[in-house]
Symmetry: C2
Subunit: 397 residues, 2 copies
């Protein structure tokens, strides 16, 4: 059967032939996607099983620009790798249908987007444990640590992703510092401060350039590539990383850096303009602990898993794992710094900051983030502990 | 016309249809290759033009193992890139015929293999200038310095070379330190010395492991990948780099490091067991100058060419080019050290050392090389000048 675009009418028939839970009987369907490239349907039985069907279209939905459906294949392969190396922390993959460019995966109804929940002051005690499982599992299972080197080279080749890497290169590692296209969105009350402390700082630009070079050239492990709190679904007892469309082989510290930055936005909002349900002191203390735990659990799990996963006899050399971890943590701190800066001044800001209504509070929260970003980017080789991230947040007064 | 294996009989007919200089008249042909994978023919007209035809077979010639003819395509693409970015320092490419997996290129009759010439004490005053043109030209023309980042990612993908990289990973970065397969060839009088100074040195193993990780993960520029003095044809006024079959995208310092190591073998032979035509003092002084010049000319040409080639506005940041050069030189010194060690103790030794007849002289020359190798590998971040390479050679007494 050749490709056709699914609709609410045809998706039920399509599912019927594909999944044992939906062979017969009554069930319901709704299109729930609002993305620009994909069609997303929820199919469910009352009191029974449910499934998400995601299909890549031929054209982008709004601008009708042709879209390489091959991306759906790569994305499904990434989800498959995540199911292998980080099962439980990603939606379960039921099948990928290459003819239809459609993926069937676990329905995460009941979860909420973590960024939104953090802005509402909710806390998630499992989060640091879960997300470090995800990151360490993926690094071990896709890098030269745990994969034969020849096999890994083939995988790198299959996952080359110029279009989406180009977005990262521009939006994270170029535009925030140069504003060449005039698309930065600097909060007006901070305009002079940003000019002086960011645009005119040639040293921070140099450090960002070094991180950009590393991003473009270090094909170490299969990254999520966009691991911010808007790419994570949570409940009190579940964490699910989704939307791996930016996935590619890059520096091992990348996901850790982007994630910590996005937890730090939640801290900046909470300290400057808290409106959440949990008492403020409790939330701030939990988010600080979580930032520290993410870094520290990552470190201990990385070292423990390394010993289990490593096959190459040279990589077993005494001292190799701590050295590699140190390089990775420096890359992570650099990416964290770049993400803190770009989500504050760049075209794609975060709601944590941009929805703060009080002008003074927002200006302060943004300066906190830029100051922390500069600190971590500059001193990335000295930022080896969770405490360094918290100290960076407390630099601006 | 589909693929068939060329012979001395058929190659002349084949050339006739392909090159204007060989449309009619009498000409001659001889098979000159002795490689295991390729068939190489020289076709020439008396007092007239000549050409080399190189064809990849389906099976290796000795062991009859099936061989991916796709390698011939990749090799031709590399030669094409070299013709673009380092014209004059590589054989001119006349055509590549994908049907026949055959490449027609400049005939280098009259040149000699540089390693052999150095062992005979010949000097080549142009060499440092020429080879630095080659290396810097290739780095600018194939890295993110001079190529659009999206285009470069596609090129990296097309040049992925797991089989031949695996040889480098094993022979340069693993076996010399571990001898797991028992294939190292340690000169018997040095056996105890090598055991103590190499096999039992866990710190040098760690440094080699770091360089291995970098080799496997840093896809910076299209390398020659095997740039030793046996891959270079020379005359007094010509330098031609050939045989790019190991080419792939790797760390920018790799070729520089391998090359300097192979010049250092010539120094070690000359100081311990000279048999050449030039007066010994003159040869030693020339080879020292050449090692220094290769590093220093590389540095000045790299910085000058960087300014011309760079397009990315972030890579134009003040201080970026010297930083990148420093990283590159550290990688180069690491590779130089690893090459010095592996060509002395590993399965694929160099004639410069292994043909020294006097036992004491050979033992000393080999210790000089291993000592220099350890020095450069360990202090690679402090080895930024040609003088550091000469000092390393003079450490062992």
């Amino acid at each position: 059967m050749s490709y056709y675009l699914l609709t609410e009418e045809t998706v039920m028939e399509y599912v019927k032939g594909k999944l044992p839970a939906f062979v017969e009987g009554e069930f319901s369907c709704r299109e729930i996607g609002d993305g620009n490239l994909n069609y997303v349907f929820r199919v469910w039985r009352e009191e029974g099983p449910s499934v998400i069907i995601k299909q890549a279209g031929d054209l982008s939905r709004l601008s009708k620009v042709p879209y390489s459906r091959d991306r759906a294949r790569i994305e499904a392969e990434i989800l498959k790798a995540q199911n292998t190396h980080a099962a439980g922390v990603v939606p379960e993959l039921y099948f990928y249908d290459p003819e239809m460019n459609a993926t069937a995966m676990e329905d995460l109804t009941g979860h909420t987007i973590m960024r939104k929940a953090l802005m509402e002051g909710e806390i998630f005690p499992r989060f640091a444990e879960d997300i470090t499982e995800f990151m360490v599992g993926m690094l071990m299972g896709t890098s030269d640590i745990g994969v034969s080197h020849a096999e890994k080279k083939e995988r790198v080749k299959a996952a080359v992703n110029p279009e989406l890497c180009s977005i990262t290169e521009r939006l994270i590692f170029t535009e925030p510092y140069l504003n060449l296209e005039g698309r930065n969105k600097v909060f007006e009350p901070n305009a002079q401060w940003v000019k002086k402390n960011l645009y005119e700082d040639e040293r921070i630009r140099l450090e960002a350039a070094k991180c950009k070079m590393s991003f473009m050239n270090k094909a170490e492990a299969l990254l999520h590539g966009d691991l911010h709190t808007g790419s994570i679904f949570v409940t009190k007892d579940s964490t699910k990383v989704f939307d791996p469309e930016f996935g590619f082989y890059g520096p091992m510290g990348f996901d850790l850096g982007m994630l910590t930055a996005n937890l730090m936005f939640a801290w900046a909002r909470a300290t400057c303009a808290y409106t959440g349900v949990t008492p403020k002191a409790d939330f701030v203390s939990w988010i600080e602990e979580t930032i520290i735990d993410v870094v520290e659990l990552f470190k201990s799990k990385f070292l423990a898993a390394f010993g289990e996963a490593v096959a190459d006899p040279m990589l077993k050399s005494r001292g190799f794992a701590p050295w590699l971890l140190g390089e990775l943590l420096a890359d992570a701190a650099g990416v964290c710094g770049a993400e803190l800066i770009r989500r504050t001044v760049g075209v794609a800001g975060v709601a944590d900051l941009r929805t703060i209504e009080d002008e003074g509070a927002r200006a302060k929260a943004e300066r906190i983030c830029i100051t922390a970003g500069k600190q971590l980017l500059t001193y990335r080789f000295q930022s080896m502990s969770g405490d360094d991230y918290i100290e960076a947040l407390k630099l601006y007064r």
